[in-house]
Point group: C2
């Protein structure tokens, strides 16, 4: 295999520029590793004139990225445009039907259309590679799809959004409010002007849906992911978490359910209270981490940068190396037509422990009402924590609940919210057994 | 590729039995993942009659494992016999020259003969796979050789021996002496009757030499690894480490040296003081962890079980999956004849910070002598810590030293050891900047 690997890159933001830089700087090593020269032949982006800090003069500029899909001088299309639909999807579909391999960092695209695209790629005999779409530089897709592929994975979970982890870490470390930290992140460019994609958990949910497919051999089912973000996390809850021996993280968690296993799948993204000694509790700042629990291997933890030009380019180039070496691996580990359609477990069926914070005035009578509500719904209280207070002042009452089905807890909280001296809606954060 | 993958397994200890169990229990998934049935066809071990908890009656028993190497019904030889030479080496060499793929968990074999065996395998057009040889179930070889292969790795390090990590963790957590914990480990079967292979760092050094080759694209050079074990670590030093903000770990560390990089290589295994907030400081018990630092990806941390039947079988089966999928990857990431011969950096050229503990009587005069010795060798003291004492009683004096070349430190310690009121040889533990 001494013919060069001819690469077209569509989308030249920081990741695209980083990929150009890595492929050119590392030319010698890539050739040694694969036996083939890596040649960037064509590039495309919206603005031809922008200075991207890399020399693009040697590559053919295509105003229309779709032209890459059938370009005689392109073996692999690297799609770095982004978005679940539109031009990115058109390009990937066209590249596959044009017999070109595809490397993409586009989590939304794979989360929404992964199963169909995998089927098309396998039919066309090309690779659809997306290591960069999940957890940036961490080679977690490769680990699950190849190295750990002999295992039955019971659960995969992780810190999948660096922006959320950065905000939560800063809140905890610096005792600052959510809004304050978010505003700073936006000023520094760590968070978007419209941060909802990150902050509301959607980005993490895209990644979780992809991880699930690779871990459990099931169809990618983004719509089945229960998604909550971190806007509701207050400094008060951070401080109680600390007191109770937890840290608060936005986690994506996917786990198979049922005795025979592998028929039902729970997928959820939401803030969690994580025990301080859990494998990922110490992962702070913008880092990501993914934990896979397999029946033979036990627990494997991988941590690293989840975003950024360098780490993402590292993942893109890793995929290009696989393609240059002629890797022949089904997109999600098993052929697309053998991916299982697993039954989603709805969130009200989730079983777990819970942290509850109530803001109450006139506490003595209230606790009896609260306890009665939990009793009525058969939810068992594990602990109660109450701050000293001035008479008449609202005071936080914090409870932790033993494992229960979420529907029971929700029922109890609805009753509790109606108690007159509880002056704010109850706050609930799930406690994760890790 | 619908022909089955025919597997011969030589060596039926716990890992061999675990591999048999995984291949048989996971038959359906393996076929889905690779398009090929996995068939164990032949097995071999010393004692045919031993009960291994798995049914071997369906496989051909070979009294001579070497017969596997040319057996018409074997595509892959799984070598789980162990040992750098002898029958394991004979079998792997014969299998390669017989055109059979090889999967091995044998770190000693690869550490001592990896370069030559890789050359032979590549010449014969077969795979030599050894994921199970390093860090058990953690797919670190795959990560370095494939997913992160576009990076220039500057340093790779890790906790590579679970027995040592278990002993050091127990000493720290339970305030127990080394001998005490070791004896318990031996009673429980966690450590061998002759524990030197683990305790003296040899096992970790085998793994480090293999990691180096994959990370840096160099020949496997076990002889260039500086090796020290953990026998000298005392509870006293553990407690001082804690006070200074460190934990003590046995690390393997490999790093390229020099401005242009990649010409000189430092490889060393020894106890280290690791800052409590380092990425691997919390990795305790028998877990392993490996950290890779690449120029594009930054820092990737992987943790998991480093030994045991299940995790090791997971790695063996991961290699079998690669082979079944027709993976075509040079043994150490680049072809064996392109592996660099890097210049070893001798330990006396190591530059780092140090912890020193002296046991002294009649302290006032001594400190002047100690300070003079360090000054003479141009070694700069960072901090001094001294316990209260009864007059005339020996008292520990603990110093931390700024970064210095080890030869200077060794010179100073030789002078200090000669001071009359220093009643024990100085204890030195390297402080690792992680």
């Amino acid at each position: 295999m001494s013919n060069p690997l001819k690469i077209g890159i569509a989308g030249l933001g920081t990741v695209g520029a980083g990929t150009v830089r890595m492929v050119t700087e590392r030319a010698e090593k890539l050739k040694a590793a694969t036996g083939r020269a890596f040649e960037i032949t064509a590039v495309s982006a919206r603005d031809k004139k922008a200075d991207r800090g890399v020399d693009l003069s040697g590559y053919e500029w295509l105003d229309d990225p779709l032209a890459m899909a059938t370009h005689s001088n392109v073996d692999v299309v690297v799609e770095l445009i982004g978005g679940a639909d539109g031009i990115a999807k058109d390009l990937v579909e066209a590249a596959i039907s044009g017999g070109r391999h595809v490397v993409t960092a586009n989590k939304a695209l794979i989360a929404h259309h992964g199963t169909a695209l995998a089927g098309a790629a396998e039919k066309a005999g090309v690779s659809l590679a997306y290591e960069a779409a999940v957890a940036g530089g961490i080679p977690i897709i490769k680990s699950l799809r190849e190295g750990l592929a002999g295992n039955r994975i019971q659960r995969v979970y992780g810190i999948l959004n660096g922006t959320c982890n950065f905000i939560l870490s800063a809140m905890a470390d610096q005792a600052r409010d959510f809004d304050d930290v978010l505003a700073e992140c936006q000023k520094l460019g760590y968070a978007e002007a419209d941060p909802s994609f990150d902050i509301d958990g959607i980005d993490a949910a895209h990644k979780l849906a992809i991880l699930s497919s690779v871990a459990f051999g099931c169809e990618v089912n983004f719509d089945a992911v229960h998604v909550e973000g971190i806007r509701q996390i207050s400094l008060t809850d951070m401080q109680f978490a600390d007191e109770l021996g937890y840290v608060i993280k936005l986690l994506g968690v996917a786990a198979v359910q049922g005795a025979g296993g592998e028929t039902s799948l729970e997928q959820r993204v939401h803030p969690c209270m994580v025990p301080k000694n859990a494998p990922i509790a110490h992962v702070s700042g913008s880092l990501n981490a993914v934990v896979a629990e397999g029946d033979f291997v036990n627990t494997i933890v991988q941590e690293g940068p989840g975003a950024g030009a360098g780490p993402t380019a590292s993942a893109v180039v890793g995929d290009l190396i696989d393609i240059a070496r002629g890797a022949n691996i089904p997109t999600f580990g098993v052929p697309a037509d053998q991916l299982k359609a697993m039954t989603p477990v709805p969130m009200h069926k989730h079983v777990g422990a819970y942290y509850i914070r109530l803001m109450v005035v006139d506490e003595p009578g209230v606790l009896a009402d609260v306890a009665a509500a939990f009793k009525k719904h058969a939810v068992s209280i594990e602990s109660v924590l109450q701050r000293t207070r001035d008479p008449g002042e609202p005071v936080p009452v914090v409870l932790t609940m033993h494992e229960t089905e979420e529907s029971a807890l929700t029922g109890a909280l609805a009753d509790i919210a109606a108690v007159k001296s509880i002056i704010e809606p109850p706050r609930m954060i799930r406690i994760e057994a890790l």
